[in-house]
Amino acid sequence: MRLLTHNMLASNVRGVTSGYPLKLEATNWCTKDVDLNADFIRGLLPKIDWRALVAATRALNLPELLPEEQPSEDEIFAEGAVNVEGSAIRRIHHALLEIHVQQGALICPESGRSFPIEKGIPNMMLHEDEV
């Protein structure tokens, strides 16, 4: 599961009103290179919940990867930033698309229900009595 996907998921256990963002617990994760596409990031960024993304990176013990506050568009999409090691856009790209959580769990912030992540696939299916 990529962090982009984590950013799009919510818990819908019966009775839970928001269920977002899910708390991430990862016991195993890895990274895989993906080609950076600045236009894709530009389209994605306004729809991303920055705080949830930052919380997810912290949960993976990567406190340095993203700042608490979202950098400005000018900074992220500055000329040539794509080619600069460690630039904002590269970090965002890395966080959203290159990190795969292989094993772990997603915890509903309201009910505490734990959704397991196995073999990189989050299992959001509800049991019979939770629907």
Binding site: L4, M8, V34, P122
Partner: protein
């Protein structure tokens, strides 16, 4: 500029929409609508020969043709006629400034004699090539890697033997190839060479056509809510799209058939073919279809919903009624961890309703929803069904593929044209309640399985009502 567009003689309904979608993909919004079509004189719409005007230069036409699956070739038409004399006259009249740049001494070329609905011996082909002396070819012949490929394409006019209604007159076309489909993809991706397939895995050609309809390309996010073995997303990933798939059945997506035989291994195959692209983007989820929270994030939803003929839909919320226990089954605490929840039958109407609402909420404006919808055919072979509608979507094309005498499936391509408002959301919730309360009624109504598989009724004279010979047929079992 007008080109001659020759199609493969298959999947007739899918041919023009594919070209229009690819024009949109390479030409930007509106380019698909700007594509114009004409038929050559005395050709029926089912003929593989079409004339097309594309909004762009020759490079654009080449892009469209090279990415397509059904375009045998797009040609700059130099001349045509019903006889070789007429052809010569027509080619001579074609302006020299369009011809000469492709006939220079430095260039290399090759002439191909092609036919439709007839066979020609190589001797006859040679004679035709030799008869073209009135064209001043100055370049050198190169059969392996020519710069310019010229095509003489001849068709016959006898009867309805080509599988076409008898309205195609003998025509000879002469043109220069601008681009052609790369069908080498298909053997590489054919299902029989794929490690992990299921009973409803999508055929590779159809999956590529769906990916084209969904405008899959690098930087686009494509989602399949019924991912199964991933056969549709494999095609989208081949074109560089980021893909995301969900399914309700944990055994299909997580376990597959062992460590090297699952959805991931199918994607590794894309990687092997695509050695330049470093990673194929795929994320899988196990999900109750309407769970994603973020609005307007997906560029396309491409899927084949379960419509209950080969596989029925399932949704969350099944109830295991144990002996003597009524009401919802409560999972014992000790078994919760590895419990696979039971699911309930999912009627087609409810499933499509949910799909349209998910799409309305999740797609960006201008994003595309591409999915199959089953249609029962009438006794005369007609199939006029009302397709599903939604206030946020405009249907841009529907392509029928006939599956049996009883039913066909139609590939619907819809574009999101209006934002998802509170009002629409409320409407969706009301409809949803109705589905819950009248679960059985919807299940009975949408029961396609019995309509497709029940034995045919016999007419009073004892013969089957389905007269196999009376229906229009095309050559080739896939058409």
């Amino acid at each position: 500029m007008w080109y001659l567009c020759v199609f493969y003689h298959r999947l007739l309904d899918y041919r023009r929409p594919e070209v229009e979608s690819l024009a949109e993909l390479f030409g930007g919004p509106g380019a698909g609508d700007a594509v114009e079509w004409r038929m050559p004189e005395n050709h029926h719409e089912d003929s593989p020969f079409h004339l097309v005007r594309l909004p762009g230069d020759e490079r654009f036409a080449a892009q469209v043709a090279n990415r397509s699956l059904l375009v045998k070739g797009i040609y700059e038409l130099w001349g045509h006629g019903t006889t070789y004399e007429e052809l010569e006259k027509s080619i001579m009249e074609y302006p020299d400034e369009r011809k000469l740049p492709h006939l220079t001494p430095e260039s290399t070329f090759k002439i191909v004699v092609d036919t439709f609905g007839k066979v020609m011996s190589s001797q006859e082909q040679n004679e035709i090539m030799k008869s073209l002396t009135y064209i001043p070819f100055k370049g050198r012949v190169n059969l392996k890697k020519p710069e310019h490929k010229f095509f003489v394409i001849e068709t016959d006019d006898y009867g309805s033997n080509n599988g076409l209604p008898p309205v195609m007159k003998r025509t000879i076309f002469f043109g220069r190839e601008v681009g052609a489909a790369d069908r080498h993809l298909l053997p590489m991706y054919q299902l029989k060479s794929r490690k992990y397939i299921g009973p409803t895995a999508m055929d590779a050609e159809m999956a590529f056509l769906m990916a084209n309809q969904g405008l899959a390309r690098p930087g686009k996010l494509v989602y399949d809510p019924f991912v199964g073995t991933g056969s549709i997303l494999v095609a989208a990933a081949h074109f560089g799209a980021m893909t995301m798939g969900a399914d309700i059945d944990i055994r299909v997506v997580r376990d597959g058939r062992g460590p090297d035989c699952n959805v991931w291994s199918n994607f590794e195959q894309v990687l092997a073919i695509h050695w330049l692209v470093r990673v194929v983007f795929l994320d899988l989820l196990l999900i109750n279809y309407w769970l994603l929270v973020f609005n307007q994030i997906l560029d396309a939803i491409i899927c084949d919903p379960p419509y209950g003929v080969r596989a029925g839909g399932r949704k969350s919320g099944g109830r295991k009624i144990l002996k003597g226990v009524k009401g919802p089954y409560t999972v014992p605490e000790a078994k919760r961890d590895n419990h696979i929840p039971s699911t309930a039958a999912y009627s087609l109407a409810e499933c499509v309703h949910d799909l349209l609402h998910l799409a309305a909420r999740m797609l960006v404006m201008g994003g595309r929803l591409v999915f199959f919808y089953p249609v029962l055919r009438g006794e005369d072979g007609s199939s006029n069904t009302q397709f599903p509608e939604h206030p946020c979507f405009k249907l841009i094309c529907s392509c029928e593929q006939i599956l049996s005498f009883r039913y066909s499936r139609v590939l619907l391509t819809m574009v999101k044209i209006a934002p998802y408002t509170e009002e629409i959301k409320k409407m969706a919730e009301e409809q949803h309640r109705d589905f819950r309360e009248n679960h059985q009624k919807w299940l009975d109504e949408g029961n396609l399985h019995s309509a497709v598989f029940s034995p045919a009724e016999l007419a009073p004279d004892g013969n089957s009502k389905f007269d196999r010979d009376s229906k229009p047929k095309y050559r080739g079992k896939y058409v």
